[in-house]
Assembly symmetry: C2
């Protein structure tokens, strides 16, 4: 493995010039720049990230912290972030909190602190004050994605607005008994999606009730069970279900089928996410774009890391979009 010295020798310049030529910093004449570049290429020179990091204090590496692996949303965020980072020559190191309290502590107390990362992206994290403290101690830019983090800049869509749009779609179809599947009604703080659901009903002059809110695991089986409960009683049955995520919504569709109900003739179902399986199930939903959110988080961090102008890129509200498929239809009467 050739080092910068070999390149310098071949190009007949000093190592400093090699460094400048290869990093595009400082002034180097076109001629020498070319000479250096071809020397580097010829030798198959690759910079030692560590040496460079030690000298500059920048690692070209960002840490991504996630609650656990395997949820579609997280994967998509990571994929978006990863690709945005790659473009900029950055690595992504992954910190998965899914392994229990000890691993979690370990990540915050040891791993993140080793000056390995120039910045961190916290995906859908709910952190203790201590943990936020550790994060801030790093002294590097931090951005949250998908979940508002107290005291940290967060990229994400407006949960309440998404939920409202979803429910307004249902209301527009004539539904008046609309159930909510998702977080507990009295969870503190209440989730944005539940708030949006309630707001939509209230604005439409519809009654909300505890009976219409069913708490569920944020998974397909969770949605299935919740919908089973909700749809069991033919008399009091809601005509539409709003699920706070597509996975739950898909579970709800399956539950309706198993109860012999037709979707959307007997009951409409809408979710949030536009999960990869939603199209297959014909699920109407509010698409959010997690890969874009990951990408956006990176852009924000890069702006902090390499301020390019006086005006920092404002963190725009992220887009979402109603996608109408076949799981929602006019209210039966």
């Amino acid at each position: 493995m050739p080092g910068i010295t070999e390149v310098a020798a071949l190009a007949k310049v000093s190592t400093a010039t090699v460094s400048r030529a290869l990093n595009g910093k400082g002034h180097v004449s076109e001629a020498t720049r070319r000479r250096v570049q071809s020397a580097a290429y010829e030798l198959g020179y690759v910079i030692s990230a560590n040496a460079s990091a030690l000298a500059t204090g920048r690692t070209k590496n960002v840490g991504v912290v996630i609650p656990f692996l395997g949820r579609w949303f997280f994967s998509a965020v990571i994929a978006g972030a990863e690709s945005a980072l790659l473009e900029r020559g950055y690595d992504l190191t992954l910190y998965n909190l899914g392994g229990g309290r000890d691993e979690r502590r370990s990540v915050f107390e040891h791993f993140l602190l080793r000056k390995r990362v120039d910045a961190v992206i916290a995906v859908c994290l709910q952190l203790s004050a201590d943990e936020v403290g550790h994060l801030l101690d790093l002294g590097v830019p931090i951005v949250g994605v998908g979940a508002p983090l107290p005291g940290l800049r967060t990229v994400g869509v407006d949960d309440a607005a998404m939920a409202r749009v979803a429910c307004e779609h249902l209301i527009g179809l004539g539904h008046r008994r609309i159930a909510h599947i998702g977080a507990e009604r009295d969870s503190a703080p209440p989730t944005g999606r539940l708030l949006g659901y309630e707001a939509a009903l209230v604005l439409a002059g519809l009654p909300t009730s505890a009976a219409l809110c069913t708490a569920a695991d944020p998974t397909l089986p969770g949605g299935y069970r919740a919908a089973q409960t909700l749809l069991a009683d033919a008399r009091a049955r809601p005509t539409a279900l709003f699920a706070a995520s597509d996975e739950m919504a898909i579970g709800a569709i399956l539950a309706a089928h198993d109860l012999g109900l037709d979707v959307p003739r007997d009951v409409s179902v809408i979710g949030i996410d536009d999960h990869e399986l939603s199209a297959f199930f014909g699920l109407s939903t509010i698409a959010q774009f997690p890969a874009e959110q990951g990408r956006r988080a990176v852009e924000y961090l890069m702006d902090e890391l390499h301020p390019r102008g006086l005006v920092p890129v404002p963190v725009l509200p992220l887009r979402f979009e109603l996608v109408v498929r076949t799981s929602t239809g006019a209210c039966p009467d």
Copy 2:
């Protein structure tokens, strides 16, 4: 951020001793070791990974390369690897090849080469000769997971054996017309799972036929479509479906339902993986344990990195296990 010098000063020893005490290398008296440790603790000292890496040539970081993000299997492998690495003080940096040819090239030609990683884990990768070359050029230990890589040590289960056990379960239930959903029959090289399927049929004296093999995308919709084709013709209908993955198998179950068929009364379905959703769908399957595979890959690498004895840990065949749920039953007749 205190450095090693501050710790040395507080403990009234040299930086060399601090280094030795904290790394457990070389001889340090119990007394000073304790002194150093409490000094380090008191100052909240965390080693600079970069400086250490530069000095030792070891980064305590392993690269994990995956074809793309978001498949259950990959996530599980990564989670297993991540947790095993964490225990050993290693970081995991993720290289996602899912972003198109350019990103892929970039990963192999630039990113992996920066001496950032002490080892690499290649998850389910199909690599060109060039890419394998780049990997080998790194001069670091490499291990594949889940897909045999020419010239590289690979951790994984025996695909053919898994498929055989699955099909033998079906055969044991009396099924004689068993279809295969998965890879193309004439793909080169043929997949282990297809081979295992054929072997099981042949061993049982059952005929195999092109009509029973349906190529499918390795996804839920892929399995759905394949099963639709297979089950469409009531006369020639197979009584059992073997899908090469649970996602396809779940799609097949859904297809059967939509055709008005009962599973398993009219048709049995079995998959491979024990996907997180399989239990919900009552899918019989062959469980493999991806997290264990990730963990195993790490153990193998650590053994190469820190040879502890003369005998390298042999790479044992990885376990798998038939899980019988409700999607398989006796052959109707």
